[in-house]
Symmetry: C2
C-alpha cells in the first residue's frame, strides 16, 4: 500500500501548481497526474457535465491503483466532491475547498473574497465551507465572490504583466476591493500565475490564499502511516489531448522539467438524451 | 431528398452567426445545428483531437439524414475538411476556408490579414486557399496571419466595447496593421461579435470578411435543385452540454429567439494510447 502512487487530476494544466507544492512536501511519493486537456475547460460547463467528467477522471486514477486522490481542480472540488468520494470507496480524497476555507478563516480579519470560475462561484461551495469553518473557529466572517472567466485564458497566454491583464483584473476585482476584503482566495489553479497583477490591484494589505498549495500541504497528514520512501520517484503525467502543448505550458506552471506526458484516449459513442426529438420533423 | 434538413456544426455557440445568415438566405430550409458545448473550444486543441471530434460531429449529423453539411467552425474547416468530406460520402460539405478565400481575394488590393484560433493559424489553410484563389483570379496577394486566442473568451463574456478588449485587439492586430493589410478575414465564428473594436483598431479603410456569413451565402447554390419549401421550418438545435447557458448566449449570437436546444450525450470509455506506460512504475 505505501508504494502506491498519489493520484492528482485537473481539467487541464492548472493542477501543475498543486504538483509543484506536492513535490516539495512529499518528495518521496510517486505522483500520477491526469489533465483532461481534450475537454478543458470545466469551469464554463454545467454541473451535470462536470460531475460526469469528474467520475471518468476518478475512474482513470483508480485504475492506476492510487492510495490518495487529490482534486486539483477547484471546479470539480466545488461541484463533484461527493461523487469522487463515493467512487473512491474508502480511498481518501482531498479537494481544494475545505483546506482553503480553513486557511482563509484562520488568517482573515473578517472579510474574505473568493474568485474562481463561473461554475465554482455559482456552486457557493466556498461560502458554505467558510461559514462552517468560521463557526468552528468562533469567528464572524463575511464573504464576497466573483467569477473571473478571463483569468484562465490570460494565464494560458502568459500575459502575466500585460496592461490588458491589469484592466481585466481591475474590472473583476473592483467589487471585492469596494467590499474591503482583507483575504482573497485564488479559487482556481490557474490564478497563481497572475498573482502579481492580482496583488497589485487588491493592494499589499490583502492576503492571497493559493488554493492548490494549501490543499497540497494537507497531503502529508492524509498519507500518515502510508508514506513511500522512493529516493527518486518516477512520476507519470497523463493527458487526454496529445501532449505537445501540455509539455511546454505545464513546465511554466511547474517551474521545472516535466516527465514526458503520455496520452490516454477515450472512445465515445453518441447517445440521444431524454429529449431526443421525435421523428416527425425529419423526413 | 429536398425535405431533408441542412446540417450545421460548430465547436459550440459561435456557429450561430452562420445560422443567422442561413435563415436569411435559405428561409424555407430546416436546419439541424449541433454545438459541441461539452468539449468546446476546439481552437486550442491538437490536430488529432480536432479531427476526432469533427468525425464524431459529422456522424451525428449524418444520423439525422442531412442533405448538406455546413462546417461553421473555422478550426474544423482548416484542419478536418477532408475527413468530413470522406465520411459524408457524396453529400456536399461546405467549410469556411474556400468561400472566404475567394471573397477576400476578390475584394483585396493585395494584402490580406487572417485572424483565427491557434489551430486555424497553425494549419496555414487560409494562406494556401488564398494563393490558389489568387492564381485563379490572376492577382498578386500577400498574406499575414495572427492567432487571437483571447478574442473567444472576450466575445463570450460580451465585453464588446470594454477598454480591455481594445487593448487586447491592439496587441494582436498591431503586426497586421504594420504590414498594411487592406482586408482582414475574421477566421473564427466568434469574432463578428467583436467587429466594432476590430474595425476601430484596424481603421475604417480595412475591409472585414465575416467567414461564417460568406460561407452561408454559398448554400443556395449548393442545394440548387434540392430546395425545400417549408413555410415555417422547424429547426433543431442539439448540444452536448446541458442547454441552459447555450440558450442565453446563443440568442445573443443569433439576434433572435432560438428553438429550445436539446442535449445529446455521449458515453465514453478510456482506452490507453500507444504510449501506455509499463506496469513497472506502478506497484
Amino acid at each position: 500500500m505505501p508504494q502506491r502512487p498519489i493520484g492528482v487530476f485537473d481539467s487541464g494544466i492548472g493542477g501543475m501548481t498543486v504538483v509543484r507544492e506536492l513535490l516539495r512536501v512529499v518528495p518521496n511519493e510517486r505522483i500520477i497526474y491526469f489533465g483532461d486537456t481534450a475537454r478543458v475547460p470545466y469551469g464554463t460547463k454545467s454541473v451535470e457535465t462536470v460531475k460526469r467528467y469528474a467520475k471518468e477522471d476518478t475512474e482513470l486514477l483508480l485504475g492506476h491503483n492510487v492510495k490518495l486522490i487529490v482534486i486539483a481542480c477547484n471546479t470539480v472540488s466545488a461541484i463533484a466532491m461527493e461523487e469522487v468520494e463515493h467512487m473512491a470507496d474508502g480511498i481518501p480524497v482531498i479537494g481544494t475547498i475545505n483546506p482553503c476555507a480553513r486557511e482563509a478563516v484562520r488568517v482573515t480579519k473578517g472579510k474574505i473574497g473568493i474568485i474562481g470560475t463561473e461554475a465554482t462561484v455559482a456552486s457557493r461551495a466556498y461560502e458554505l465551507a467558510i461559514q462552517e469553518e468560521a463557526k468552528r473557529q468562533s469567528k464572524l466572517v463575511e464573504t464576497f465572490a466573483k467569477a473571473c472567466p478571463l483569468f484562465v485564458p490570460l494565464a494560458e497566454e502568459g500575459w502575466i504583466d500585460h496592461p490588458a491583464s491589469k484592466l481585466v483584473a481591475e474590472e473583476y476585482l473592483s467589487v471585492l476591493k469596494e467590499a474591503g476584503v482583507d483575504t482573497l482566495i485564488l479559487g482556481c489553479t490557474h490564478y497563481p500565475v497572475l498573482t502579481d497583477v492580482i496583488q497589485e490591484v487588491m493592494g499589499s494589505g490583502v492576503t492571497l490564499v493559493n488554493s492548490g498549495a494549501v490543499a497540497a500541504r494537507e497531503v502529508p497528514k492524509l498519507i500518515s502511516g502510508l508514506e513511500a520512501n522512493n529516493n527518486n520517484p518516477e512520476h507519470l503525467v497523463l493527458v487526454s489531448d496529445v501532449p505537445r502543448k501540455f509539455q511546454r505550458i505545464g513546465e511554466r506552471f511547474l517551474g521545472r522539467k516535466l516527465p514526458e506526458a503520455r496520452q490516454v484516449l477515450f472512445k465515445e459513442a453518441w447517445v440521444m438524451g431524454r429529449d431526443r426529438v421525435g421523428e416527425d420533423i425529419l423526413s
